[in-house]
């Protein structure tokens, strides 16, 4: 499943990141690597941006970018 498809309050684990190099590096920066737990928090008004809790910090990412992050539910 894609991170952009997760619902509010979902907790998922990052499996793979298929973004282009620039944004992938940004994701690495904030500690978004395979194996990281991501909690989906809330969306903005136009639903193009969503806030996630990653390694204790709240970070928002546009849906157009989070669709390049493949996640799975925590078993």
């Amino acid at each position: 499943m894609l991170l952009s498809e997760t619902k509010v309050n979902d907790k998922t684990i990052v499996k793979r990141i298929v973004s282009n190099r620039d944004i992938a590096r940004r994701f690495l920066d904030i500690g978004l690597t395979p194996g990281t737990v991501v909690e989906t928090l809330f969306e903005n008004i136009s639903k193009n941006l969503c806030a996630y809790r990653i390694r204790g910090a709240v970070v928002s990412i546009r849906k157009s970018d989070s669709k390049d992050i493949i996640v799975a539910y925590d078993e």
Partner: protein, 681 residues
Amino acid sequence: MMNNKKIALAGNPNVGKSTVFNTLTGLHQHTGNWPGKTVDNKSGFFKDEKTRYEIFDLPGTYSLLAHSEEEENARNFLLFENPDKTIVVCDATSLLRNLNLVLQITEVNKNIVLCLNLMDEAKKKKIDIDLKKLEDILNIPVIPVVAVKKEGITELVKALDEERKVRDQIIYDERIEKCIYKLKQVLKEKELFSLNPRYVAIQLLREDWDLLEEFDKYLGYELLDDDLRDVLNSCLEELEDLDIDLLLVDTINKKASFIYDQVVSHTSKKRSLIDQKIDRIVTNKYLGIPIMLLFLAVIFLITIKLSNYPSNFLYNLFFSFEDDLLLFLEGIHLPSYLVHLLVFGVFRTVMWVVSVMLPPMMIFFPFFTILEDSGYLPRIAFNVDGVFEKCSSCGKQALTMAMGFGCNSVGVSGCKIIDSKRERLIATITNAFVPCNGKFPTIIAIITMFLVGFNTSLKNTFLSAVILLLFTLLGIGMTFLISKILSKTILKGSPSSFVLELPSYRKPQIIKTIITSVLDRTIFVLGRAIVVAIPTGALIYLLANTYVGDATILSICTNFLDPFAKIFGLDGVILMAFILGFPANEIVVPIIIMAYLNTSAMMDYSSLVELKNLLIDNGWTIITAVCTLIFVVLHFPCSTTCLTIYKETKSLKIVLLSIFIPLICGLTLCFIANLFLGIFV
């Protein structure tokens, strides 16, 4: 003899580096609760018994990989300026992520002090950190600090004397380490000055060519010669199947987690309840935008209501001096034209700037800063990002716009936080559409005189605030429109990616913020009054009183501009005032007054009521007022902002675009308003 030491303050964004810097140096570097407040390195000094320290406040950065310009500033400083000690400021409430950067910095610089800031917040969140253990693992001093309360600062300064060097922490995948070793063998033969060979080797493996260019510039020779290139190529071939960036970061992340688990005993798995609650309200689907507008409206309301008092006070104070000054100057037998120039030119311009312009800025700015300190600004960016994505621009533009309220020049330098060059230029060019607080006093004065009336009842003040809000929204609306048009034309492209952090809310330092930002504005306005208002006041007076034939130079100019200006509902004097007001917005109105007084029978004005009469005598109608208001919001950026745009972009073309785009927008809207209102009025 005193030692001299160079200290760098590095760390993640928004961890309190500038606050630590201010506490150490006694300076007033701006702080704010959002990532990206500081974008340029700033230096200051402090001393203890033995040593004189020069300390550099660096922009925050999540990692040393550096994507945007302000992050490059920080990284390059650590690499090339060779600080004697690097203080890495960490947020004690999110140590895990902060440790990543600490570990990366250990690869560059071995003389590190870890400053664990925000200990008060950590305590509140019941996060327990074993400082001793962290200190042992890293082998560097770890100092707990509450920068806003100055706690731990003496210990921090003491720790700068320590000789301990950080223990090497990071060991990568075996294959990578082998390659690093091979490269290091070649690098050993070269003069690398302060650069760490291991770090250079790693960057080569990462194929970061931009950074390699920086290396060459620093070293003064081409690092990647044939020998090195051969070794590098064979290494890269060997590692071909690996995503090196990911592996490097992953190793560091794992190490950070490993250390974190040993030193932090309790972490709540949940977000703080207060943060959750506030966010639920301020980012709510229905409430988010109204709350934002309400905040702005209330700040405007307070600004308008409160600025009356200091304004009247200062005005009367100045006014009571005027006669004395006149008598005094005549008393010392100055020639009368000089006396008039000093009193009616210089003194009155300064009087206007200080008494009318200063109070609203002095009141708006601290309120805005408090909002900024609370952590609300990134939520605004979060709320309105949809519009920015539609305009193919970056959501962080909302932050640079917000900075524009304080000062467009600051907004323009703030544009560094936007990674993509295209989106950065859009944000730069459109920044002046947001009226800076230097424009508010003029807008408020015109609204009072022509749209609302002089009665300062709450209803009228409220009405003024709403009108001011509308004109502000006009500027914001134009920002969106022009961003969109730019994205479709000369700055074509699709939106690029960014991540926007929403920091925890923090209780703003209300008293301190008010004091420092009132001082900040007062110094700013008085500084501009001295540098700009005094000479222009004199100049305008000369222009208005030097005759060529039977007309003054000023009236020749304004008469020349008049027919053109009339098309847009303005007049020659107004247009001329804006042109002469290019150095600083504040002097536009005094210029208008002086020009009119020159042609008018009335010799004096001592209140807005008389000023209104003066304007009406000179042909002002409600249409003139509305068109002038539009033009105040939308014309060209002031000279300081233009200089900053040039400094940041090094492109004359961008400066010209930033001047002419708002100008054309303003004139077009004035033209339309003039035409339409003409039908009704």
